[in-house]
């Protein structure tokens, strides 16, 4: 993706809660579920009002006097005549009818959403404590694109996600686009969706997965196909070779410190897959799994003291001299 395309994206203010909500559908699946929800809540509201009014009317309706008559003078204890029996049977029958209508709508919606259409774009998403590894597969190993916490998709084209977990159970959920799917160790599951309008959609892990379950978010960037293709092509490149002495020193810092134990940067000796791939870190919107905007200051804070931002995260605090830090930041920023 070109620099100005990213610029346009960043200029759009994130529209919350709209950008992270099942009530603002941006694709056919979330749309159908939203329609189902609207029908269900309206019917339910009517049912609730009727039942509560019936209960309140039954309690407060005007009655013959002599409420506290002694035992002998009271009316017979048998309750309800044939009218009441009919009413109860009728109400139960109405309940069954409403439930059947719900059931049929549920099944219809479910059928419409399950089967992924042909020609979908495959993407592999692997859940980690507490970030998302995203891979665009290719038959040629050098064409595989690996990124993290940010999924670019072309609008109008279905996407099939192949979901897996590297550690515990996570759950992938972009509410604007589709319902969630669990990522279970030992299983691979699939989920498909289609984004119909360009935009930035947030999602976060929905299955409790430990300390930083709260800060395990991701963004889906839905963009026109040509922009998406450009982005993918740019992501296929290896990392930029440092051009000046500061960024060269930054790369040296990266490769000689503990960073290299977990992270990989294509085109350098760093190849560990424990943490997110950083080859194009500079082009991403956020760091720390959707926790902070990707700015120089935030990145510095994250490198030095990740534990105060995401306590319990796997990334250790780093003792690093200010000069080295500046060089490292300069280098990381070139990784666009």
């Amino acid at each position: 993706m070109s620099a100005d395309a990213l610029g346009t994206l960043l200029q759009q203010p994130l529209q919350f809660p709209g950008a992270h909500s099942a009530l603002a559908p941006a694709g056919p699946q979330a749309e159908r579920v939203h329609a189902l929800w609207q029908f269900m809540w309206i019917v339910s509201a009517v049912v609730w009002v009727v039942v509560v009014l019936a209960a309140l009317y039954a309690t407060f309706r005007r009655r013959m006097p002599a409420v506290d008559a002694p035992l002998e003078q009271r009316e017979p204890l048998s309750s309800g005549g044939p009218g009441m029996l009919t009413a109860v049977i009728g109400a139960t029958a109405a309940t069954i009818v409403v439930l059947f209508v719900f059931l049929i709508l549920d099944f219809r919606t479910g059928r419409a959403l399950t089967t992924p259409p042909a020609g979908a774009l495959p993407i592999k998403v692997t859940g980690h404590q507490w970030w998302w590894d995203v891979q665009y597969p290719s038959s040629r190993p050098d064409q595989i694109v690996t990124t993290a916490n940010e999924i670019h998709v072309p609008i109008g084209r279905p996407v099939v996600l192949e979901l897996a977990s590297a550690d515990v159970i996570h759950s992938f959920w972009p509410p604007n686009l589709v319902g969630k799917r669990d990522l279970i160790p030992g299983y691979t599951s699939t989920l498909w969706f289609r984004a119909d309008s360009a935009g930035l959609y947030r999602g976060q892990c929905a299955e409790f997965c430990g300390y930083q379950h709260a800060k395990m978010a991701f963004y889906i960037v839905a963009e026109p196909p040509e922009k998406f293709t450009a982005w993918l092509a740019q992501q296929r490149d290896s990392a930029h070779t440092p051009a000046d002495s500061l960024t060269r020193r930054g790369r040296e810092v990266f490769l000689s410190s503990s960073c290299v134990m977990c992270h990989s940067i294509q085109g350098t000796p760093a190849g560990s897959r424990v943490g997110p791939d950083l080859t194009h870190l500079g082009s991403r919107l956020t760091i720390a799994a959707g926790t902070l905007p990707n700015t120089r200051g935030n990145l510095a804070g994250w490198i030095v003291d990740p534990q105060s931002i995401k306590p319990g995260a796997e990334m250790p605090s780093n003792q690093i001299s200010p000069d080295d830090l500046q060089a490292l930041l300069a280098y990381l920023e070139t990784l666009r």
């Binding site: 579920v33 189902l36 929800w37 209960a55 009441m84 969630k180 709260a214």
Partner: protein
């Protein structure tokens, strides 16, 4: 020799003599010894009720802290480690230490009274169950306050709770705490089933049983079939993986993490109904007494509860729609989840019909029943929504489900509070204050709805569960603040109730034996009931026992009063069958419970706990099974005769 039923012909003099003798036979020893050795179902039951209410308050305080943390985005009142412990212990305690034990405890206290028995069946087991439960509860909260509380959720999903991702002893404490409460719940269920089947007063055939007794019976059977599953899951499978290196849940060794979810929810879903069905029984009792009408559609209500009991075992997969369940399989569980709404709806219609025909007195218990209808119906309707697979995939694991489950479970807490106001005169001989009761009700219903209604929208706006904080830009702040304010109102309402209970216990208005003019047998006992419950075991002549009795009410005679003897009747018709020598008070149940503690607490740390436990358990079990000699009884009877 079978007990004989004759018309009441005793003179006042006979009664006095009999009362003295029963008092002497059934009273426990005085003082601390008596407190530790008692097997009176009322003393044990009351203890159970108070203990589980205390756990309700402690678990509620956890929720208060969580609401404080979530009131604002990016709050730093508690960190993720503490927050995870808070919500895990909140859920675990509310389910295992409050909801199920409270519902069972009310049964342990009131079922024998309502069926006209002198004590519960297996009274020593009853005392043992309480002590075991107490040890389990103290273990959980002790761990929390020592900062070693479990932190993987009340559902403890593997592999997060497995040895690889939860080192330390936190999850082991959770697993063994579950074991303690399982044992307690299972023995309680057995006592209730046997009491209901074999100790009913003559004439109380199954179709004359009060609806609360039916509810407790259905619940007891559900406990019997559901709880062994979580015991299997936690005590055997999870503890096995963690303690002795079995790999049942480890996919790398051929294990399967989904196995845990099936086992857990096969218990976990019926668990909801184990909490809920007794509450239905309470609603029936309150509606009946405060409308002065027999409940409309008694057979329908009984069958609805039984149907719910069966159906609740066919729903568990609806907790797992987001896993890899095949479409066709999932639709079966959508259908059953919708189906269980039918018996519940039917019951609500029957109560409305009863109120419609009757003359409702709007005392506090009745207000809580109306609060139950208003609140629970919302939970029921959202339950039908989340039964839908496509909708559930949006709502699952979000605050929508938090709202749904609290509407359902607090739907059961409304009748529980109602029944406290209803039965408090029986428990203590005094009324709870009516004005404070109404204040309690209004604060509670406002607080509950203020807290949980906004959560529906938070969930649909993407707020997931079990998060210790959220970012400001998500826009979840305002509704969370509203929910937190609601939690404060709930705290206030519970404080009002506590103040009311504390004050009324000593100085409340005196209530007679049957202050509400209610129809069931517990109101034939004195308030509070004597240790022997009934001077004469009554003979039941109709479904509403006290409303249908004739002036010359027949009673049972022929039971010995000099030793503890109870009447055993037949299952269906409650015809007198035989007499049973009831055990005396003993310290053995407490010792056995301590030995169980000495088994399972070491098991947190080492498999050698089994060996230690076996050694500790042997002596109390031998003492428990030690035969009683008939001569001892005769000797005691003579001493007593001389004394009287």
């Amino acid at each position: 020799m079978s007990a004989e039923t004759i018309e009441l012909a005793s003179t006042a003099e006979d009664d006095t003599r009999m009362r003295l003798e029963l008092e002497r036979t059934w009273s426990g020893r005085p003082g601390l010894i008596g407190w530790l050795t008692t097997t009176d179902h009322k003393r044990v039951g009351l203890r159970y009720i108070i203990t589980s209410f205390a756990f309700f308050i402690l678990a509620g305080l956890n929720a208060g802290l969580m609401r404080l943390q979530l009131a604002r985005p990016e709050s730093h009142i508690v960190g993720p480690d503490r927050y995870d412990q808070l919500f895990t212990v909140h859920g675990t305690a509310m389910m295992f230490l409050f909801a199920v034990p409270m519902m069972t405890a009310l049964g342990l206290y009131f079922v024998p009274l309502m069926v006209g028995a002198r004590n519960i069946a297996f009274p020593r087991l009853n005392a043992f169950g309480y002590w075991t439960y107490l040890i389990g509860g103290c273990l959980l909260f002790g761990a929390l306050y020592l900062n070693t509380g479990p932190d993987t959720g009340w559902f403890a999903y593997v592999p997060l709770s497995g040895p690889a991702f939860s080192p330390g002893k936190r999850v082991d404490i959770w697993a063994q705490m579950v074991t303690f409460t399982e044992i307690a719940a299972l023995v309680g269920a057995i006592e209730i089933i046997v009491t209901v089947f074999k100790n009913r007063a003559p004439g109380m055939s199954l179709n004359r049983m009060p609806l609360f007794v039916w509810a407790e019976l259905v619940t007891a059977f559900m406990i019997l079939f559901a709880l062994p599953w979580v015991a299997l899951g936690s005590t055997v499978f999870l503890a096995g993986d963690r303690l002795i290196g079995t790999h049942l849940f480890n996919p790398a060794e051929g294990g399967d993490p989904l196995l845990w979810q099936h086992v857990f929810w096969f218990f976990g879903h019926p668990e909801v109904y184990i909490v809920f069905v007794p509450a239905l029984g309470m609603v029936s009792e309150i509606v009946q007494s405060f409308t002065r009408r027999e409940v409309f559609g008694y057979p329908a209500l009984v069958l609805a509860m039984i149907a719910q009991g069966f159906l609740s075992f066919g729903l568990w997969v609806h907790h797992m729609f987001a896993t890899t369940v095949p479409e066709l399989g999932a639709s079966f569980f959508t259908a059953t989840s919708a189906m269980i709404a039918i018996p519940i709806a039917l019951q609500i219609f029957c109560w409305i019909a009863t109120i419609w025909n009757g003359r409702p007195r709007l005392r506090t218990p009745m207000l809580f029943v109306l609060g139950f209808v208003i609140t629970f119906v919302i939970g029921g309707l959202t339950g039908v929504m989340v039964a839908s697979v496509p909708f559930d995939l949006q709502a699952h694991d979000t605050y929508f489900v938090v709202a749904h489950l609290h509407y359902v479970l607090l739907g059961a807490v409304f009748p529980m509070f109602g029944i406290f106001y209803y039965w408090f005169p029986k428990l203590t001989g005094r009324f709870l204050d009516e004005r404070l009761g109404k204040l309690h009700f209004w604060l509670f219903i406002i607080g509950v709805n203020l807290t949980f209604f906004p959560m529906h929208f938070l969930g649909l706006q993407g707020m997931t569960r079990r998060i210790y904080t959220y970012l400001p830009e998500t826009g979840w702040g305002p509704l969370n603040l509203l929910a937190s304010c609601g939690a404060l109102v709930i705290v206030l309402s519970v404080l009002v109730f506590l103040a009311n209970a504390a004050r009324s216990w000593r100085t409340g208005a005196l209530a007679g034996d049957n202050p509400w003019d209610a129809p069931s047998l517990e109101w034939a006992a004195s308030s509070p009931p004597r240790p022997y419950n009934f001077l004469h075991i009554p003979v039941v002549q109709g479904r509403a026992a006290l409303w249908s009795r004739t002036p010359d009410w027949p009673v049972v005679t022929g039971l010995r009063t000099d030793i503890r003897e109870i009447l055993v009747t037949t299952v269906l018709d409650a015809a007198p069958d035989s007499r049973h020598r009831h055990p005396d008070d003993t310290i053995v149940p407490l010792l056995t419970a301590l030995a169980v503690g000495a088994t399972f607490i070491p098991l947190i740390f080492t498999p050698w706990g089994v060996v230690i436990g076996t050694a500790c358990l042997l002596p109390p079990l031998v003492a428990w099974a030690w035969p009683r000699s008939p001569e001892h009884d005769e000797q005691r009877s003579e001493e007593q005769g001389a004394a009287v």
